[in-house]
Amino acid sequence: MTEPVTLTRKDYQTDQEVRWCPGCGDYSILTAVQLLFVELGLATRNQVFVSGIGCAARFPYYMETYGIHSIHGRAPAVATGVAVARPDLDVWVVTGDGDSLSIGGNHLIHALRRNVNLKILMFNNQIYGLTKGQFSPTSETGKVTKSSPFGSLDTPFNPISLTLGAESSFVARTHDMDRAHMMDTIRRAYKHKGSAFVEVYQNCNVFNDGAFEAITAKASRADMLIDLKHNEPIRFGADQQYGVVLNAFGECEIVEVADVGVEKLIVHDETRSDPSLAFALSRLASGPTMPTPIGVFRSVVRPTYEDEVSMQLAVATETRGPGDLAKLLSSGGTWTVE
């Protein structure tokens, strides 16, 4: 992160044709990211986008920065290498729900627990786009797709629950229909020092059209999206008439504020070192068809992995002096042949 620069959106665009289907939600995410970069004045040379394989994973080709379009599921591993080698860079991971949670689930959870300073944008369209429409680990049970003509059997992951269970220091959710909210959320992720996991609900209009319509359509948003705000009581609805409370089992429940009174509502605190509240909030909706929290679930500070790596090198060099190769080679007992 260097001095801010003054660039326009065009400066962040490459000369490559954007090869997503017309109408794909990925376009609006790309726009949000580029506009955010303009706002933050990020120098293109210090940004690295790493992706896996999938429609989402084509993202790096459209950003005039450094980038690696790697292989399916491995982006967090590759990005870890970039970040640890070069803590001076901003490293972004762009991934799909299949890329990150199916084949790549393990690298994702390990990057998160280590708190590698990666900004992970997971475009969740609840489908495999690039391979033409099979169910994904976030598809709802019973989904009929090419590979599940009688309905899928798998219980989906809740990406927020999973990443909280994996010790992620920053977890948030946003959606492709609200540019301002995307920019706010990704800005927060960028400013967070440590791994930041952002789930972006994204419409795949070809293979899973309307998956999030029930909650993201302009008309329903007010009643269906619960925009979490730090230090504020959790409430929503066109007239803020609904609120969220905890029950005796530590579970979140939706109530009418009028029924219980504002003081009973949970006051959201992203910064709790215990992720239990964030987790409970993640269980409020079992899918994007009921009131769903968006925004930042958790944001806690702990040392980043790459800083710790660098620190160990610095301390070792400080205490032992810079390594002397000749001395190293002759360690452990030598003798001379005349």
Binding site: T14, N46, Y61, A77, G81, V84, V337
Partner: protein, 621 residues
Amino acid sequence: MTIDEKLKPEAIEEVVIRFAGDSGDGMQLTGNRFTDASAIFGNDLATLPDFPAEIRAPAGTIAGVSSFQVQISSYETLTPGDRPGVLVAMNPAALKANVGELIPGGTLIVNEDTFEERNLEKAGYVGNPLDGDALAAYRVIRIPMTSMTLEATKESGVKPRDAQRAKNLFALGLVSWMYTRPVEPTVDWIKKKFAGQEKVLAANVAAFRAGFNFGETAELFDHPYAIAPARLEPGLYRNISGNVATAYGLVAAAQCAKLPLFYASYPITPASDILHELSSLKNFGVRTIQAEDEIAAVGAVVGAAFAGQLAVTATSGPGIDLMAETLGLAVSTELPMLIIDVQRGGPSTGLPTKTEQSDLMLVMYGRHGEAPMPIVAAKSPSHCFEATIEAARIALKYRTPVFLLTDGFLANGAEPWLLPDVAALPDISVPFATEPNHGDEFWPFLRDPETLARPWAIPGTEGLEHRIGGLEKQDGSGNINYEPENHALMTKLRADKIAGIAKDIPLVEIDDPDAADLLVLSWGSTWGVAQQAVRQARGRGLSVAHAHLVHVNPFPSNLGEVVARYPRCLIPEMNMGQLSRLVRAEYLVDAQTISKVQGIPFRSAEIEDAIVAILEGREIS
């Protein structure tokens, strides 16, 4: 015979000693210490550790036997020896597992105390082999090592459990006396090792001295032996194992390349020690990551290579399997990196602590599509250092992932190493791209016409922002491109780049004093034993040539001419004939394999026999 006469050592040229005992008996420690003492004394030597896959397989059983063989000599030692001349057996299982290898007439030293019913039974003996004449072919020396150790350590005040654990030091003391190893360096070493545990220290010193003194005073031996320091090239030496030499080679390669070293790895036998070694070298600026698996390790390596570091991973066969897909990406993105395969016995989990050379075809071909990678193979423990730097040189210069092959034998085996002059190590640094190379654009796949390497432009460089990936790229611009002719061209360019490295590596050298008809061609860790076998064959008056490959892909440019020159070609390999297949396919010569797939290195006699057989026109099996 007076004590004085007894003290006069008989000079011999070499000896092969094997220490064998239970996994808990400390045989590796004993063997290593004896080796170090011999090395510092100036002998040439080579070692062969052998231990079970379990941490501590059941005490007293064959499965739990751990052994360490060392050959020390007053001339150039090429192998740890075919068969021991001296076997130290700490229990019946160790005897049973090893006595078959002892040469007839060899010395067998047993810890008599352990030859009681339970242990005999566990080892599968009916009756005590020390009674009767089953061991009549050997010079059997029965010593109650446990009780003598307990006796000797009484004064140390140590607990009986710790006291009896010192019996390996008793054995070490005895053998040190037998081969006139100096006492004080080992006593110092014991002191260092057990610093802070006063009683244990005292017990171990006492046991060691007791063993030494026992040799001197007991009537069991006529006299000790002396093995003069070897007439090696002058210079400063140390004893080094292959894994340590590899780790040091990496640190050196990074310095030679003027790059930070980045090492990501997932623990696996027998490669883990490289990680352990490098993890402690943080003041050399070495970044080490213990990844969640091998795929993550090599993924991080790809990232670090893109970011501009000397990026390296090491593993063994199962890990190489897992890295295949990512290595294809590395080939496609043409990033420099080093992949070290410390080969072990396969297939699958196989024989995880044993040695084998059976991953050659895997590293050559184990990626989908046409994805060529250079292969360098180390030939001895200390050569791992040099081979590592050479592999790094190729990786950096040609912007390609490179395989370095070692194996369990090299990794854990040790030998004296003439320390290189650090200042004289090669400069293998390569420049990063700093500016546009195509008008005011940067083309990441615009190649150096000479090496065909593409520019290495690292993040942070103004104006060289670019994206790379695994989809086929347009020649030059690197943009995604699916056109038929471009794919054919890029495939050919990638192949030509690797093939072209042949121009940049030494020709294969032939050791052929008298125009032989038969060429023995070795690669990797069979170097020493192949050379030894050739010497032995020549000693029989046979004429045999020997050549050895350090570069396995591409082959040295004169190899075709060399193999064509000899009517017969014999390739000893610890696999079913993998190099043979490569040589046959490339040069259409009827290379024959002598194959050993037993988890242990060749004996020189095995190769010698094959040489004789071929020269006599017999079939080799």
